[in-house]
């Protein structure tokens, strides 16, 4: 069952009859999912359990700096899964945060699984809320439940799920516990059977007004993106990396080409920023 010991992913038997690890065979997938989370929460352990690959896990910051990719099949669907670098935030102050953030923003993901440490929820939920600002297709993997129990912590996953507005699945990834339920929940989200209602922070009315002024411009410039609200908030915060991305055309739709703001649009954007 959970402790499938074979070394070759392709020949690995199923875990529960519905699940096959496909290693690096990532062609022609049906759904693309990513694993995000703070450093050292078990993302890579979960990635290995899903893909059958043997990415090294390590307890130091920046261990997974480039993203790794693998695949698995669950029921009739084939998934490509991407293991993102561990980060405390998505505000792009370092290379690994930028990789994680750009992939969640622009990677056309069907679902983001945020792996959180059940023993340090207060710290971990900051990133969850940031991911919920960007996308509503989120499943929280509440990992390290065994360590929480040893520390005498009881986490009410159902209540947490109600508060966050997205599913929360308790897990012990190291032992394969909770993987079946995680995969079922991910399937429900990617197929649209389960719709989420992510909790978002209410903004100060003045800031909300500024966001509303920026939104039409951003929607007009980047119709292919789905995170205009997030972009507006970063611009208002003075995030230089987003400003630069807009000026350098880095947010353009790769299929239709250039969407760099026309000369007359830059002053409009700047005016909207000066509320």
């Amino acid at each position: 069952m959970a402790g499938c010991q074979c070394t070759q992913a392709a020949g690995c038997p199923t875990v529960s009859g519905n699940f096959t690890r496909l290693g690096i065979n990532i062609d022609n997938y049906d759904f693309l999912i990513a694993l995000a989370g703070n450093p050292n929460t078990g993302k890579t352990t979960l990635f290995n359990a899903l893909s059958g690959l043997r990415q090294h896990t390590g307890n130091w910051p920046g261990k997974t700096v480039v993203r790794s990719e693998g695949a698995f099949r669950h029921h009739e669907y084939k998934y490509k899964v991407v293991d993102l670098p561990g980060t405390y935030s998505l505000l792009s102050t370092s290379e690994d945060e930028e990789i994680a953030r750009d992939f969640i923003l622009f990677g056309n993901l069907d679902c983001v699984v945020v792996v959180v440490d059940a023993t340090a929820l207060e710290r971990n939920l900051n990133l969850v809320l940031q991911v919920l600002e960007i996308t509503d297709r989120v499943v929280v993997a509440l990992n390290l439940m065994d360590e929480a129990e040893r520390k005498g912590l009881y986490v009410d996953a159902r209540k947490l799920s109600r508060e966050l507005g997205v599913p929360v699945v308790p897990m012990v990834a190291r032992e394969g516990k909770g993987i079946d339920q995680l995969l079922q929940t991910v399937e429900d989200v990617v197929t649209g059977r389960l719709s989420t209602r992510p909790r978002r922070i209410d903004l100060d009315p003045q800031i909300e007004e500024a966001v509303q002024q920026l939104l039409p411009h951003l929607k007009n410039l980047y119709p292919h993106l789905s995170n205009h609200r997030w972009l507006a908030m970063r611009l208002l915060e003075g995030d230089r990396s987003i400003e630069d991305a807009i000026r350098n055309d880095a947010l353009a739709d790769p299929e239709t080409g250039s969407t760099v703001p026309a000369d007359e649009e830059i002053p409009e954007l700047e005016a909207a920023l000066e509320v």
Binding site: A120, R123, N126, D239
Partner: protein
Amino acid sequence: MPASLADLDTGQKARILDLRLQGLERRRLMDLGFTPGTEVEVVMKAAFGDPIAYMVRNTKIALRKQQAEQIIVEPIS
């Protein structure tokens, strides 16, 4: 009496009162767990006292002395 995080000795604990920083630098420290009300412990200091490692919300995080000086705390005896 309020002090800054940089004033504490190794092993000493304190509660954060305020961050005297603005913008992304403030946000960055808050993302790392340094929010008002949070308890912090000095774990160790490098040679010449810079950087300094703090235990904050179950994780060890090292700050430059210059950053630590901007975090105002109330020592817990």
